[in-house]
Amino acid sequence: MRKSKYWYKLDNAAKIFPAVSQDERSNVFRLSFYLDEIVDPDILEQAVNQLLPRFETFSVTLKNGLFWNYFSHNHRPFSVEPEVAQICKYFKPVQNNGYMFKVYYLDNKITLETFHALSDGTGALHFLKSITFNYFKLRGFDLSSDDKILSEKPYSKKESEDNFVSNYDKNNKLNLKEDKAYHITGESFNQHWVLLLKISFHTKSFLKMVKEKYQVTLTQYLTALFAFSIYSESLDFVGKKKPIKALIPVNLRPYFDSVTLRNFSLYIKASYEANKPKWTLEEMLEVTKAQFAEQLDKDILHGRISALVGFEKNFFIRILPLALKTIAFKIGYNILGESISTVSFSNLGIVDLPESMKHKVIDADFVNAGYGIAMTGITIHEKTNILLASPLKDLSIMNFFVQHLVKEGIDVTIDTNYREGYDEIL
């Protein structure tokens, strides 16, 4: 039954985003599916609107309370739009019928751009899979969901649960102090435009290479290579005190038996010191492997969750009016938020589609246009897509990254949102 009224407190990860988001820092991420046919916008819009009552956590609008923001039910009709040129563009919910996600169409592509306060990559992927499945159903295709499409399953209250709060343990808090990280600087594109470089390769042959040659995982290898590319192309890194830090979001659902569609991920970090005079890729891989093993521990993750939730449970923070909290969040984020990371790498993993849908969704993108160069990964049909999103005009780090993959014997295919002639505009 469709609920007429409901509301949610923002989860721990979401609380800061409304205060700190703007044109330069949208905190919006993108998921796209490329279909085997041209998208019909009317049917797509119908598909989204039919699904919204099922996806309560997406069918909301952001409201201001006296002390905190909150999500309130939103029953307004949702409109799909033609895709815009700017990837992960900042938008105001009031211009989007109150909704905090956008659904775009372009030729054979359906794109879901989600404000991070609403959900993380895993939650948004469930939503996009359901939208696409419903779209094909409305187009008249007889598809079987194989238990892989959330909208075909009954609603569970656990989908709307704030699992940061439900896993809070006040006796198990870790210290979250973070040192500052090295920053990549350079000239940016105009109009908040973000350059996207999509690097595709065959997953199995890549996994074979990283396992046999380096005994690491795909994520560990790409994290280390990303850091090694920055180290190799940043002439001012060695001798500086700040390390290269790659933040890697970890999906916490498997660790804490969660099925929530709301945010439930936490960053781990791979850190490479600047005081070491020379790094090799092999050394970076060793460091990455060790740091992953150390941080991917349920007790440590639990301690970090508790520390984060403990912060929002602090009495003095709670009683601070929202307007003052917003100012404090802005100042805090400007001082600390971006200073603790050099880059990020978010690997969403495999897009698990029902058998009947596999030939209808031919490719997928996952983009997170964050601070500096943001790397994301998604695997579909034996193919892994690594997407590098950068607001900077300098391509040397990306070039090093791609050239190294080629040197490793990987057959690389590139796609980009760059076009000849863009230099005059951007």
Binding site: S72, V94, V402, V406, V412, Y418, R419
Partner: protein, 220 residues
């Protein structure tokens, strides 16, 4: 598909040259590549004019104060110009970003009321502003929001926040009256009474849905 012989990279887009080495790409006509994103257009100059308009108003205020100062203190007419320029800037900033029309209306009425008081102060005749304009503007806005709530009960919670803020502001004219800053009683008393009744209504007569709205708005 296209290929860079120099970098050994395949390109699945319609670029003619390699992004990294700028070499011409080899084209495979049997397997053509397409651009898969929306094409960017040149930026409109609207934002420049927006900033230029604000800049002109600031210059206008500063020049007026300077010219007025040259003719000898105390400053007189330039305050009127400066307050007007300030009002135009604030209104422009309020109107530019998208927001709910009820929220805009409340902000416009509050800013306009305060501007009229400032204009009154600038010409050393502010009694009419705080006696009549400010309380009646708040009263009118509270009545509009009350009517909206009564006429559109399904969306009452959309107007609730604004009404609560206005009711609290509506207490000010009554307090000014108590400490003898205002001289005409009835507009301030009417606004104060309406504000008190509204606040009492909000706090004493809560329905299940208004209790829920309180819980949302004041959750800590």
């Amino acid at each position: 598909m296209r290929y860079c012989k120099n970098c050994h990279i395949h390109y699945d887009t319609d670029l003619d040259h390699c992004m990294f080495c700028n070499q011409e790409l080899e084209k495979n006509e049997e397997n053509p590549s397409f651009y898969k994103f929306s094409i960017i257009k040149k930026k409109s100059r609207a934002k420049f004019f927006y900033r230029f308009f604000i800049f002109l108003n600031i210059i206008s205020a500063l020049v007026s104060i300077y010219v007025d100062y040259l003719s000898g203190p105390p400053l007189s007419w330039s305050w009127v110009v400066a307050v007007t320029n300030g009002y135009i800037i604030v209104m422009f900033l309020l109107m530019w970003p998208a927001s709910l029309w009820t929220s805009r209306l409340s902000k416009i009425i509050i800013v306009s009321g305060l501007t009229i008081i400032l204009l009154g102060l600038a010409i050393n005749d502010y009694a009419w502003a705080i006696d009549y304009v400010f309380p009646l503007a708040i009263l009118m806005n509270m009545i509009i929001l009350t009517l909206l709530i009564l006429l559109n009960r399904k969306k009452w919670f959309e107007y609730f926040g604004n009404l609560l803020i206005l009711a609290i502001i509506g207490l000010i004219p009554g307090l000014l009256n108590l400490i003898d800053i205002t001289t005409v009683t009835w507009p301030s008393s009417a606004t104060f009474t309406y504000a008190v009744v509204t606040l009492l209504g909000i706090f004493i007569l809560p329905s299940k849905s208004s209790r829920e709205e309180f819980k949302r708005r004041f959750h800590i």
